[in-house]
Every structure is written in C-alpha cells, then in structure tokens.
C-alpha cells in the first residue's frame, strides 16, 4: 500500500493535523506512515500464525518455502485469511447482541413492548442454540432453499462459528468448502445484527427519521461534554441519557449508534478522525467500549487531561443506572477541573436526516422505478474509514458519482456519518446532488428525504430489513453493495453475508487473499454460481469515476 499524500477530505479535521505535528502528537496517519512498507506476506494473505510451529509464510519467490509447516499452501492460507476475518467480524455482532439481550433479560430496563422483547429474547437464545430462529424464515424462500442446499443455513453458534473457527486449525477442506463455512459464520452475524435492531425497537420504541447535526462543530464551549465511543450496551447509553436529563450536559457520540429513543447523540466525527475530538479540548469525559475504539485514545486522553471510562470491564456490576449516574457526575467534575483548557472548536457542522427504516421508504415504488428505468439501480454504501485512503474521499466522491448517475443510495453506520459530513444526508441538498430520475423518485416518496437514505447504525440491521421489505431476492434486482473505505472485520463479515444474499459486493481495500488465485476466483466465480453474486477483490488502482463505471456495470446484470 502507498503513502497517502492527502490525509483527509474533512475541512474540520485538517487544521488539527498541523496542530498535532506542532505539538509532536502522533495521530493515526503518522502511525500508518511509520508502519510502511507493511508486510507483503500479510497483505496478500500468504501468512499464518494459527499454531506455535510457525509463524509460516508461503514465499512467492522461494521454492523450499511454498507451504507452511503443517502443509497449508498459498490457497489454503488465502482462504483461511478470509475466514479468520469473517469469524472475528461475525463474533462482533454476536457480542453486541448477547450483551444487550443479557441486559434486557436481567431487567435492567423496562421494554416499551414487553411481549415483543420477550419473544425476541427467545429468538436470540434460539439463534445461539440451534439457529432455529424466526427471522431467518422471513428471507425469500429461494434464498433459504439455496442456503440449505449449500449447508450455510444458520444452525446455532456452536455449529456455525465454533466449527468455522476450527477450520483454521487444520483439516483437509478445499478452498470452496472453507469459504462456505465463512459464509455460514457470516450469516449468523447477519441474524444477530437484525435481532439486535429489532430488540432495540422493542425496548426503546421506534426510531423515526431524526434531524441530527454532524461534525466537530457540534461540540460546545460552556457545557460539560461526554463522548460515547464505539459499541457498548445501548441500555447503558439510555441510562446515561436519563441520568443527564435536566442537567446542563452534552452527550455526543463517535462510532456509535446516535439514536437511542428518546435520546440522540450527535456524531462528532467518524472512525478515521476519532482522535481529533480530544484535540479540541472540548471533551470532558470519554465512555468507551471496545469495538471500533482505537487504543491510541488512552494515551491521547492523558495529554488532554481527559478520563476514559471503559464499559467492557470484568465485574462491572449489575447496576447500570448507578454506573450511568457516576459517569455524569464524573463529567461535571471533570468540566470544573478543565475550565482552564481552551476549547478550540471548529465551526464546521452539517445537518443530516438519520435513522430512516424500511417503513419510511416505499420499497415497492423503488422496485418499480428500477424496473421502469427511472433509476439505474440501488447501491448500499457501507464501511467506515481506512487510513490507506484519504479520509472520506473515496466514499463521498463515489456516492456523488452514483447519485448523478441516478443510482438510489442507502447507507448505514459510519458510512452515513462520512456522507452526512458533506451534506449528502441533508434534504436541502437533494436536488443539487442527484440526477433527474433519482431526484423525481426521492421527492415522490413523500417524505423530505435526502440524497442518500441512512438506514441506521451498523448495529441495527436496517439494510437487511430494507432488503427483506423489497420482497425479492437481491440477485433479481439491479442492486450492489460497496465498501469504498472498509477497515473493520465486521465489514468483511457484512460483505460476506451481503454476497450470500445475492448482492454483488465491491470491497476496498483489497482483502488479504490476493496471494491465493483460487480464493480470489472462488470469491468471484464460485460465489456467483452459489449465491448469484461476486465478492469483488480489486487490486488495480482506480479513479473514482472508474469505480463508478465498475459499479454501473454490476447494476446492469439484473
């Protein structure tokens, strides 16, 4: 991978790079440059650390060293590299789900819809036990039959993920078989994501599309400010919101679900620049989970005299409300102690409409418009930021390009925050961003929708719900998914299940499988044959317009 000249497209973030350099503070971009050149074996998936006889590599230029000590050749190494990422990513969703469900079950909160919550808890237990879960049945019959025929139909965590993870330990499975285990694991992650979204609705009530403000400008001068980082139990977020009610306290989020009704936590920034809010001096306390939180925050927070409260600790104790009250008190105290610190808040913010769901957009109308040719198709935009690209540049310019070409764009999670920062989630900018066909369709949908429709946080499965609402198999529709700046293992799992549903997926940067021609081929041709969609691993450098061309070609197939 290359040195990236321009670090970020975000004008709110850019001034802080110079300030960090002046102060000698190393940020993510500095650390990335320090790691160049990155290991070529790891980058192409030609390495393995799954036992203690290694580490092993398959050396592309050395005959005596083509297979690992146990006999994994370049193709097995490549497919294992993919499987490892998918298993890790799927477990992330299961972690979120079990944490939340455990809280609901132990009565930490009184759900709005008790009956529905109880039913979902049963479903969740079934997902963990034998996979026999109602939500799987809601998928189109053709898909379910296909999954069953291939053996990737969810059968409980033990069979899906424990088994899949042990493929890494050994055995003589082929590349294709191993790949199917990866898809099986990914699908259980998918079900977990959908169930978490539904459980949130049952517990907190429905989110309606909400106006939120995005970017560093949402930070405040004279208000004690708590920043919620990453993923942790939404119940704790709710309790923090409750504890701060009526008090003069600002609660915002980074890489976290911004909408826990009735509270909303404005996204201060997105993944790539998650260190920057601290540098403004306008943060008094951080509450951080594990997922999507850079460990660098701990050191950086010390420099700005900010405490980081960890949520994912052993023996947290059952009393969430008490924990939340303590957090709020700590923030107030920290604010008093930090009065001397200058709060250097850039005046950059954008308003955005976030948290739409399948019921807010008439999917039948969209399907008709696709059939009638008014719009060219539908693109799912996902994935957060990756330091290997100029922050936000790829996803935002790709979205702009697709919108102009009349492609209906939906997004979720951090991708939405990226797009929101540049006004693509602001309904006022709709006309100027979209082609005529798309613009007409969006205004005919009744509500005042922005150019890109946000389907909620990456915790919630909004995209899957939306696909379910379309009622057709994705492979029969002009529909693709793009991950223009992916970086988490969760994104790899998400890409895998999107392919398993039959939506062609374009993934950047290229996955660490390129050392194995068979794996790349299997993710393409074999997946096309099996699921009706390819997971495209693209190694060539491409301009945004070329990427858009590629995606348009993918849309033409249906």
């Amino acid at each position: 991978m290359d040195f990236v000249q321009k670090k970020t497209a975000d004008s709110a973030v850019e001034p802080f790079l110079a300030k960090a350099a002046e102060k000698g503070v190393a940020l993510v971009w500095d650390r990335y440059e320090g790691s160049l050149p990155q290991c070529g074996f790891c980058e192409t998936g030609l390495n393995c650390r799954d036992c203690l006889q290694g580490p092993c590599i398959s050396h592309p230029f050395r005959d005596g060293n083509k297979v690992g000590v146990c006999g994994k050749d370049k193709d097995i190494l490549g497919v294992h590299s993919f499987l490892r990422l998918v298993v890790h990513g799927a477990m992330a969703y299961l972690d979120q789900l079990t944490d939340f469900a455990g809280g609901v079950k132990s009565g930490e909160s009184s759900p709005r819809d008790k009956g529905q919550a109880d039913k979902l808890i049963k479903d969740i237990q079934a997902l963990l036990a034998d996979g026999g879960v109602g939500v799987v049945q809601e998928f189109p019959k053709g898909l379910i039959d296909g999954w069953k025929a291939k053996g990737v139909y969810p059968e409980g965590i033990a069979r899906d993920l424990f088994k899949a993870s042990q493929k890494l330990d050994g055995g003589t499975s082929s590349v294709e078989d191993t790949l199917l285990w990866a898809f099986k694991g990914a699908l259980s992650g998918c079900m977990a994501q959908v169930l978490q979204g539904r459980l949130k609705t049952a517990v907190f009530g429905d989110t309606s599309p909400t106006d939120v403000e995005v970017n560093l400008g949402v930070l405040q001068q004279e208000v004690p400010t708590i920043l919620l980082y990453g993923h942790f139990s939404p119940l704790l977020k709710q309790k923090i919101g409750e504890a701060a009610k009526g008090k003069h306290i600002g609660i915002m989020g980074v890489c976290t679900d911004p909408l826990i009704p009735p509270y909303s936590f404005a996204p201060v920034t997105n993944y790539g620049s998650q260190e920057i809010p601290l540098m403004t001096g306008a943060v008094d306390l951080i509450v951080a989970g594990d997922q999507c939180v850079n460990p660098s925050l701990a050191e950086l927070a010390k420099g700005w005299n900010v405490e980081v409260v960890q949520t994912e600790v052993l023996n947290r104790g059952g009393d969430l409300a008490g924990f939340a009250r303590k957090i709020v008190e700590q923030a107030q105290k920290a604010f008093d102690g930090r009065r001397k610190v200058t709060r250097d808040i850039p005046g950059v913010k954008e308003s955005a409409l976030m948290g739409c769901s399948a019921k807010d957009v008439d999917s039948k109308k969209i399907a008709e418009a696709m059939k009638g040719g008014e719009i060219k198709g539908l693109a799912i935009l996902a994935g957060c930021n990756n330091v290997k690209f100029t922050q936000d540049h790829e996803i935002v310019s790709l979205a702009r390009e697709l919108l102009k070409r009349d492609v209906f764009c939906v997004s979720e999670g951090c991708a939405s925050v990226s797009l929101a920062k540049y006004g693509l989630l602001n309904p006022r900018n709709r006309e100027s961003s979209c082609g005529k066909g798309l613009s007409d369709l969006l205004s005919s949908l009744g509500k005042d929708l922005p150019a890109v429709v946000d389907l909620g946080s990456c915790e919630n499965g909004g995209v899957t719900e939306f696909l379910l609402a379309m009622g057709k198999q994705p492979k029969d529709l002009p529909l693709v998914a793009c991950f223009p700046e992916a970086n988490r293992t969760k994104a790899v799992a998400r890409a895998a299940w999107t392919v398993a549903m039959g939506a062609p997926t374009y993934f950047w940067p290229y996955l660490p499988v390129t050392g194995s021609p068979k794996t790349v081929e299997a993710l393409g041709e074999f997946c096309e044959k099996t699921f009706g969609a390819k997971l495209n691993v693209i190694t060539e450098k491409m301009e945004v317009a070329e990427k858009a061309d590629l995606i348009m070609k993918g849309l033409e197939r249906a």
Partner: protein
C-alpha cells in the same frame, strides 16, 4: 564504497528483504499483487537462509567472480566499486556461480544469465535496506574496501561493544 551491513541481532528472518527484492528487482511487473503470481517466478537477489542472516553480494575487493568470468561480463563499476553482471554478454557458463564463496550468484537458466545483487546500483537506495522492518540492514561506508573501524558492526564483531 558503500556496502550493506547486517545486524544479526536485529534480523528476525521475516524474508521481507527477499520479498521486496523479488518484486522490485526480480519481477517484470514491479507490483506486489502481480509479481507474486509471475511466471517464471521472479528471483530475489538476497536470500535469507537457515540462520538469521540475509546474504547479499559483498562486492569483494578481490572478486573471484570477476577473475573467473571468461569474457568480461562480470564487471566492477569504477565509480561505486560495485560488482555487477553485464547481462547482454553473459554466456551462461556459470563459472562465477561456482567460484562465489558466498553462493550469492544464481544461474537463471530460463534466460541464460547469471544474476546477483548489484546493491541496487541504479537506484537511489537499496530496496532491502529500505524495507527492513527492524533496521537489521544498513548501508555503511567502507574505508579502503573495509567497514569503518568505528562502526558499531566492526566493534561488535571484535567484541568491543555490546548491543
């Protein structure tokens, strides 16, 4: 002359030098994802064998390969002192391969030429030194063909200095 010095204590045998040498010097494509699938397989000029020591050409002051070469294909660059193969005149007799005390020179039968490390003489900096993640490889100036007396490597080898 500048030669590549190896700090054995720092070498982890990760083969990164050989990988990037194979891409940058050995391959036609010069790009990771294409080079690793290239046929014939690119041949790196540096090898990491059994011990933690990447073998490079030492550019010997009295170079047996230059002496053994029957038609002046093996040459020394008068400016830099670096020993290299003048490929157009190589007759693939493999005399140099036989006499090299370090086994640095490889017979590339498919192209009928002997190949060896020329310390990236046409590049600004040797690729292996640039990519070594632990700084085990260093470019070091020599005096009269020998490493500087005060260099840490010489002191180390003489037992004068601990690392």
């Amino acid at each position: 002359m500048e030669v590549i010095m190896v700090d054995q204590e720092k070498c982890t045998q990760c083969h990164t030098c050989a990988l990037w040498c194979g891409i940058e010097i050995g391959s036609v494509a010069k790009e990771l994802n294409q080079a690793i699938h290239e046929e014939p397989q690119p041949v790196p000029r540096v090898h990491v064998e059994g011990n933690n020591f990447p073998f490079h050409c030492r550019h010997c002051e009295v170079a047996p390969c230059i002496d053994a070469c029957p038609n002046g294909t093996m040459r020394r660059d008068p400016k830099t002192g670096l020993v290299y193969v003048h490929e157009p005149t190589c007759i693939a007799c493999w005399m140099c391969v036989m006499v090299c005390p370090f086994g640095i020179i490889a017979p590339l039968s498919s192209q009928h030429i002997a190949i060896k490390c020329d310390r990236c003489r046409n590049m600004e900096y040797p690729i292996c030194v640039e990519v070594c993640p632990t700084n085990a490889l260093k470019l070091q100036k020599t005096r009269k063909g020998l490493p500087d007396e005060d260099s840490q490597y010489v002191q180390y080898s003489k037992g004068l200095k601990d690392f």
